[in-house]
């Protein structure tokens, strides 16, 4: 187990290297000279020497291979540079945005686990009942509706409308930004912050919850046809024991992987939700950085996301081995 972990951790390095190098290359393929864009020359004519100075300032006058090498030299020292746009230290930007993404993802995953799993289990147990049919429809719609549309709809239904129509104070939710941004224990919102958290978290959770519910239901149904379930019944176990003690442990396995991966991906890709609710997280920051040709920000934040994804993946694989005793970790790990 230890050697497997170490091997996987070491694998992260070449993966990160390959990913970043790819992006580095892409960046330089992007149309528009970065220096020109930086000094605002996209829409107006800027004097040559201003552009030249920008180039020197940001090291853009060197050849691409040189820049590549320099970039990696600095990154390995964790010197992520400054934003091309506003000279802020990338570390600072990262420190500001990362917690937002982590918190939002955390709550979205909690919702996914609590709601998704229980809905899946219940609809499997009460297969073909009204509850099952209704939830099937709801989960299908939830995974089909575009996240940003859902975000807007929720905004309207639970924030704009109540505000307009004077609903009681406790029911009003907020839709832009993070509010007072006060937290305890890093994850728990205090004060008014929760009002700003609710809708983005639900929106972000929607698709994954729907998928988790479907997968949980499917997994439970598949497990319920297994021989060992019949054995459990033959032993005289109650319906409840059979489902919870025997069925669930087995049915959970693929769902755990799904949830872990969801956590890994939402941290970096919650762009749509972040945009709709103005929740400044890593995703929207990266998107903006690409648009503004802000290389240091784009590369550094993406690097963080890539590493986080790989690490969370590893944790998921390790915990899978914990839950399923049949899994032998030293056999590769690629399904």
């Amino acid at each position: 187990m230890i050697s497997y972990t170490i091997r996987r951790l070491l694998l992260i390095l070449p993966t990160a290297f390959a990913a970043l190098s790819l992006l580095f290359g892409l960046f330089f393929l992007l149309p528009g000279d970065p220096a020109t864009l930086i000094v605002g020359g996209a829409n107006r004519n800027v004097p040559e020497e201003v552009i030249e100075r920008a180039k020197v300032r940001y090291g853009l006058d060197e050849s691409v291979p040189e820049q590549f090498v320099n970039y990696w030299k600095r990154t390995l020292r964790w010197d992520l540079g400054e934003s091309f746009q506003n000279d802020r230290s990338v570390n600072e930007i990262l420190g500001e945005r990362a917690p937002n993404s982590i918190r939002l993802s955390f709550w979205a995953i909690l919702i996914e686990i609590a709601v998704g799993l229980s809905v899946g289990i219940i609809s499997a147990i009460r297969r073909y009942s009204v509850v099952d049919r209704v939830t099937t429809v709801i989960t299908a719609v939830a995974s089909a509706i575009p996240v940003f549309v859902l975000g807007f709809v929720l905004q309207y239904a639970l924030a704009v409308y109540p505000n307009k129509h004077d609903w009681p104070e406790w029911a009003k939710l907020r839709v832009q930004g993070r509010g007072p941004d006060t937290w305890t224990l890093f994850f728990i919102p205090t004060g008014e912050t929760w009002r700003y958290l609710v809708l983005p978290a639900i929106t972000l959770a929607s698709v994954s919850t729907a998928l988790a519910a479907r997968m949980m239901r499917g997994s439970m149904l598949e497990v319920s046809g297994s021989d060992f379930m019949r054995t459990a019944k033959a032993k005289g176990l109650s319906e409840r024991s059979i489902v919870l003690r025997h069925g669930l442990r087995n049915a959970m396995l693929p769902v755990i992987t799904l949830i872990g991966l969801d956590f890994a991906t939402t941290i970096g890709t919650a762009v749509l939700t972040e945009t709709v609710f103005n929740w400044n997280g890593i995703g929207s920051t990266i998107a903006r950085a690409v648009g503004e040709r802000d290389a240091p920000v784009m590369l550094a934040l993406t690097l963080v996301v890539v590493i986080a994804y790989a690490v969370i993946n590893l944790i998921v694989d390790l915990s899978y081995a914990f839950f399923d005793p049949r899994v032998r970790l030293d056999s590769g790990g690629h399904g």
Binding site: S226, D227, F228, R230, T231, A232, K233, A234, K235, G236, L237, S238, S241, H246, R249, N250, F323, D324, P325, R326
Partner: protein, 341 residues
Amino acid sequence: MTSDVLLSVRGLRTCFRLGDGGDVTAVDGVSFDVRRGEVYAIVGESGSGKSVTAMSIMGLLPTSARVDGEGVLWKGEDLLQARADRMRRLRGKEIAMIFQDPLTALNPVHTVGRQIGEMLRIHENASRKHAKARAIELLDLVGIPNASERADMHPHEFSGGMRQRAMIAMAIACRPDLLIADEPTTALDVTVQAQVFDVLMRIKDEINSAMILITHDLGVVAGTADRVMVMYAGRAVEVGTTDDIYYRSRHPYTLGLLASLPRLDDQGNEQLTPIRGNPPSLVHTPSGCAFHPRCDFAELDGPCVRDRTELLTVGPGHQSACHLSERLEGVTVASMRGGER
């Protein structure tokens, strides 16, 4: 009904509803008795309904199945009328089942010790510690070495034979009065089949339980069963003592089965004598006697094609469902092999 009859199955009929609206009758009017301490074998090929019979008794079939009959009397109580919680208390405690494939029949994520101990926890309210201790004892009883370490292992870490022993241990944990063993050694490697079978028989004697042994292998039945029921297409075609079946068989199917067995004294270059034809479709069973399309003795313009078969007494405690069973008196297996009749 005599006092040592534990289980009395009367006219058991089990149908499955198919996805496209049709019905399959897997068990069509089966009756038999099992007495205390005896080994009752149910023999037949795949699709004959032998496993479904057992599952019907235990109530283990899915809801798409309908189980009917005059009665399934367990110690006088009709299980077909029993409520769900009564069945639950009966399973494992009074009647226990041993399944064919221990790899899939045991839960892969729980340890073997825990699965065995579970029996004691639910039926005898044992504490976790006590249940574990008993589980280790039971593993020892079935001949698994290093029982205390093995109890903490998972099923996939056991070999096939040991897994089945563990399953046996689990089934007898509460000393049931009846064990139903559904093809207990079929899924095992040939080299361990005999060993595991011996363990099964030994244990059965030790706890003094009756056993219904379900198998397709007539060879296994010979040394162990007291009475035998041969099934075909969901019906009983011959019932009797082991000797009746082997030496005085009066049904073409049984004769066919016996004739198809290879024998130790075969020269080795003789052809096997299979039963011609294929097992019948349970959706479209042949008219009259279900076996007639494959029967060498059938009269195709007589009752074989027309009339439904019933079990008729052909000797003391010996019944056959063949319309022409009288003709078969004296027919020996040897005469059937090599094509002579």
